[in-house]
């Protein structure tokens, strides 16, 4: 049954949806169209004159090895961040699902990192891994690994991945836990009687039933890694060393506001916009059609 409210006049409904539409227009459509327009312009470094260049900015972008490099790094970064934060969250949720005593306290503690601002999370990990004063860098040195994210691009990448995942674990944890608790206990019990050991039960019964949640989170996490990690990168590595952690969203900022290549930067944001729209459409399509039972 679908409930429909029918308005006799047009005035009230327009008034009701107006705030939403205005907000969308001012904060999304307008800047987005500005970016679209600017991505077609070539502007001088002082912002005094500009020239319409059609798709030249995009052509330049995709023939720039630095940009393509950054693209590849972003893919690695997102995959690693999403994989790590989803894996850890799933593990913690599976454990929390069994906890009986102190469950609320445990859950609250796990959820805390989500309340931490990205930049603060970045600084936190930055200090822990600081080559001269960081506790974790010190411990790693004890194990014979000379950690230095100032000089080593791989170390720097691992640092931002760690910081970015750490923050996202809480969010994923909440969804996984809710998903786990929605699975009827009798299903797991039936599987136990059917001769499946805990590990097998998890992969053949629990995980498939959790897959709509997992898929939703995968998309959310990729979007997060693509777009919401600017603060973390900025506070820890500033994209370095030697651009080894310059992911796309950081490059937009770097090229636009530091390098003052406004047209190129706008073109980069348009590409990012295309990515997020694709992901979102994919998610809606797929989630509603395929993964639901």
């Amino acid at each position: 049954m679908e409930k429909r409210v029918v308005f006799s006049k047009l005035g009230l409904p327009i008034l009701l949806v107006a705030p939403q539409i205005v907000i969308t227009l001012v904060f999304f459509i307008w800047p987005a169209s500005q970016a679209l327009y600017q991505s077609l312009l070539l502007e001088d470094a002082f912002g005094l004159k500009s020239q319409f260049v059609w798709l030249d900015n995009f052509i330049a972008l995709f023939s720039d090895p630095h940009y393509l490099n950054s693209f590849a790094r972003t893919v690695v970064f997102s995959a690693a961040t999403a994989g790590l934060s989803l894996g850890v969250a799933l593990f913690l949720a599976a454990m929390a699902d069994r906890v009986l005593k102190g469950a609320t306290a445990y859950r609250t503690l796990i959820v805390w990192p989500y309340a931490v601002a990205p930049a603060v999370a970045g600084v936190l990990w930055f200090f822990m891994f600081n080559p001269s004063i960081g506790i974790l860098a010190y411990l790693l040195k004890g194990l014979g690994y000379d950690w230095n994210h100032y000089l080593d691009g791989t170390d720097a990448m691992m640092l931002v991945i760690l910081a970015a995942s750490w923050k996202q674990v809480s969010y994923n944890f909440l969804f996984f836990l809710a998903g786990l608790q929605a699975i009827p206990r009798s299903l797991v019990e039936a599987a136990a009687i059917d001769g499946a050991r805990p590990f097998k039960r998890f992969w053949t019964i629990v995980f498939p039933l959790l897959s709509p949640t997992a898929f939703f989170l995968l998309v959310v996490n990729i979007v997060y890694a693509f777009f919401d990690t600017f603060g973390i990168v900025h506070a820890t590595t500033s994209g370095g060393p030697a651009q080894s952690t310059t992911i796309l969203v950081y490059k937009v900022f770097n090229d636009g506001f530091i390098g003052l290549d406004l047209g190129g930067s706008a073109a980069q944001s348009v590409v990012l916009m295309a990515v997020v729209i694709t992901l979102t459409v994919f998610q809606f399509r797929y989630i509603e059609r395929k993964v639901a039972y």
Partner: protein
């Protein structure tokens, strides 16, 4: 296949709830035992302990000759049918049935053969590719049964498997379960709170109340000689009438509160002088002429069921609590307000000690 044995089994849940207070019984190989009792009496708890889904606090459970207390559910070789069926929603009917066999590394062709056989028995042939979500309640019930029988386990455990079905389907599935169990000869433990199901399915019946097995016996043993007031009131529909009174001075009858005449059925010798509870089933009261009647009942309400009618009333001058139900022939017209004179079938009068509720014999 194997028998099943409970030795002093007790269960206390971690939160302190004492659910089972000591069950001793042996189920022989191939027997169909039904556990019946009111909600919360510990039926599911007992069954889940056999399955290995709950730990046994005290005592021992044996399947065959082996103590299974410490075994994982997977190692007990039993199959269970759940009330909500617990079918795996992401698997086809075939995969649901094959899951347990695959986990036990049964060869492929053997799996295909056994599933096909079970599907044949349960009329599921056309449905093997469907998901549980695409089946009716009765079909899901059959798949749940199929999942149990393909495993060829030592014992079947059923936890109210029919309670989600409509009345007609329930009767049909009841017969089917009975027939299937007969054919396979698998030891079965069946939990229900429906006493018709209990009476019709059971080789033997366990009547439970508040964690205690009040009586264990064949359905007719329990119907004919209920061991306690609780069992007497629980088994039989409509429930047995309980009338209180005192043993007559000469010991040859009972003076019921609110009845003019002495009920001339001698209580057993063990009945002390004093208070006594007399139980008479509605079907063992018969309308007769006034002179030969043992009881007089003022009719309050008549439920006509067709074949027979249930007459509810009060003893002619009994106070509150002297309610009596009588089952009379459906052809007989009885009206509210009428006084019904009743004779009692003397072999079907039960006497209980009102203090401890035990049957007097």
């Amino acid at each position: 296949m194997a028998g099943l044995e409970f030795v002093g089994v007790r269960k206390t849940y971690p939160n302190g709830v004492k659910a089972i207070h000591g069950i001793d019984m042996a189920v022989s190989d191939g027997e169909f035992v039904v556990i019946v009792g009111p909600s919360g009496c510990g039926k599911s708890t007992l069954l889940r302990m056999v399955a290995g889904l709950e730990t046994v606090t005290e005592g021992e459970i044996r399947i065959g000759e082996n103590r299974v207390n410490e075994l994982e559910p997977a190692d007990r070789n039993i199959a269970m049918v759940f009330q909500n069926y617990a079918l795996y929603p992401h698997m086809s009917v075939f995969d649901n049935m094959a899951y347990g066999l695959r986990n036990r590394r049964t060869p492929r062709d053997e799996i295909a053969r056994r599933v096909a056989e079970a599907a044949g028995t349960l009329q599921l042939e056309g449905l093997l590719d469907r998901r549980p979500g695409q089946l009716s309640g009765g079909q899901r019930q059959r798949v749940a049964m199929g999942r149990a029988i393909v495993r060829e386990p030592e014992a079947f455990l059923f936890d109210e498997p029919l309670s989600n079905l409509d009345a007609k389907l329930r009767v049909q599935m009841r017969l089917e379960i009975k027939r299937l169990q007969r054919a396979l000869g698998t030891t079965s433990l069946y939990v229900t709170h429906d006493q018709v199901e209990a009476m019709t399915l059971a080789d033997r019946l366990i009547v439970m109340n508040a964690g205690v097995a009040e009586q264990i016996g064949t359905p007719l043993e329990i119907y004919d000689a209920p061991a306690t007031l609780f069992v007497a009131g629980f088994i039989g529909s409509p429930a047995m009438n309980f009338l209180s009174g005192t043993v007559a001075d000469d010991g040859a009858g009972a003076n019921l509160d609110g009845a003019e005449r002495t009920l001339l059925v001698a209580p057993p010798a063990s009945a002390r002088r004093g208070r006594i509870t007399v139980g008479i089933r509605p079907e063992h009261l018969e309308p007769v002429s006034r002179e030969t009647a043992a009881l007089e009942v003022v009719v309050e309400l008549v439920e006509a069921l067709g074949a027979d009618s249930l007459v509810h009333g009060q003893l002619a001058d009994g106070g509150e609590g002297a309610a009596v139900t009588v089952r009379v022939d459906g052809a007989r017209r009885v009206a509210a307000g009428e006084v019904l004179s009743l004779a009692v079938a003397p072999n079907h009068v039960h006497f209980f000690d009102p203090d401890d509720g035990k049957r007097l014999a």
